[in-house]
Symmetry: C2
Subunit: 228 residues, 2 copies
Amino acid sequence: MDKAKIIACIPLFKGLSDIHCQNIGSIAILQIYARGQMFFFEGDCGIGFYVILSGKVKIFKLSTEGKEQILHILEAHEPFGEAVVFAGENYPASAQALAETRVLFFPRQKFVGLIRREPSLALSMLALLAQRLRKLTKLVENLSLKEAPSRMAAYLLFLSEQKNSTSNIDLDITKNQLAGLLGTIPETVSRILKRMTEEKIIRANGKKISILDRHALAKLAQGAIKLT
Amino acid sequence: MDKAKIIACIPLFKGLSDIHCQNIGSIAILQIYARGQMFFFEGDCGIGFYVILSGKVKIFKLSTEGKEQILHILEAHEPFGEAVVFAGENYPASAQALAETRVLFFPRQKFVGLIRREPSLALSMLALLAQRLRKLTKLVENLSLKEAPSRMAAYLLFLSEQKNSTSNIDLDITKNQLAGLLGTIPETVSRILKRMTEEKIIRANGKKISILDRHALAKLAQGAIKLT
DNA sequence: CGCCGCTTTGAATTACATCAAAGGACGTGG
DNA sequence: CCACGTCCTTTGATGTAATTCAAAGCGGCG
């Protein structure tokens, strides 16, 4: 199995010539993490970044009392730990495998060397960071400007759009994790879903959720209406 | 007045050769914004980014009900609007001058052209974005994992460190803006400062604040203790 | 001087977290 | 294949931090 081939398939490295993919491949290290295993803890010295080949990874922060805020849940082809490569300090959050996960690891110094010689790679990384920035900005907006039901509504709509705009969504995370993502607790998630069901906005069946009233959900997401 | 000279003084462009500073200067446009004037609104098409020469700029989001969350308050030498240059969509937040502000404006396309030819400029921008990412991560942590008094304590300590670790801080923003920065409302800010004063952790006099008990403030910031 | 926006304070309200408990899903090992 | 434990999920009762609403004092600036 050729690492250059794998790399050519990763969106982040899209558009790079074969020779560059080979260069990148030559510094990449294939690693496998078991479910529950940590990639790094917040505050660890940053030694490089990862790209997921398969599996699922949670990026999160922990409060002193143990409550967790999930920043991202990432899947195949998505990179993480990039910020540390360029600001060269410690990881600003922790990363853990939610399932068995295969990754490519890119050591910091070597990767920076590549970037120096390949401007289009630099632009790819810039685009990636800029996009992360947008995503976090959105998260801040949600956390501070919206209440929990709105955040839930926004998340359901987001999931729905990701998956071809079907009305049938599959939460592929536990409601515990969903709570961490929305900045709340499992009990609240449960109650909100219940109320949405009562108002016939959604139909819930375990991790399967059908959107019955997309319009109401959208209104809810903007905070224009409330759950009674 | 030579734009290349000005640019050489900006931390973002530190370490670039004279010739590069000239190139950068040749695409930069000097602009002056009056107090209260908007640079752009959230959702506007992104046409470029700015670097502050003097003045003060607020980057913020507005909820549908009009509450605002301030993401950053920026001063001389700090850039803003960078994310849009590389993700090439719309501004993810709004920007407004809090005082008369002089900026250099860098049009998107031209700047990307420069980066293609100058890897060290790319690395500078990468470092900048990575740092922004850290800052936002911290904000998310504060908003979701800490309660208001902790966020206030953290902010006071942050200000104190910025200004040579003196115990005498000058909030150079209104408490209204401080509330927006901390993700709360002016009344809450007022009450928290009052309680901190009662517990002799700080002494407040208008916008001047003295830290009396730095240790207690630090404990508060981590959430280890609470205001009674 | 007079106005407008900032600031403070109190009382009422609310959204959400916490605590407690029970039911359910899932996987492991017997 | 069933029994068991663990974790996830739901539901109710209770508590609390923070927003909302209201009103009055303060301050700066035209």
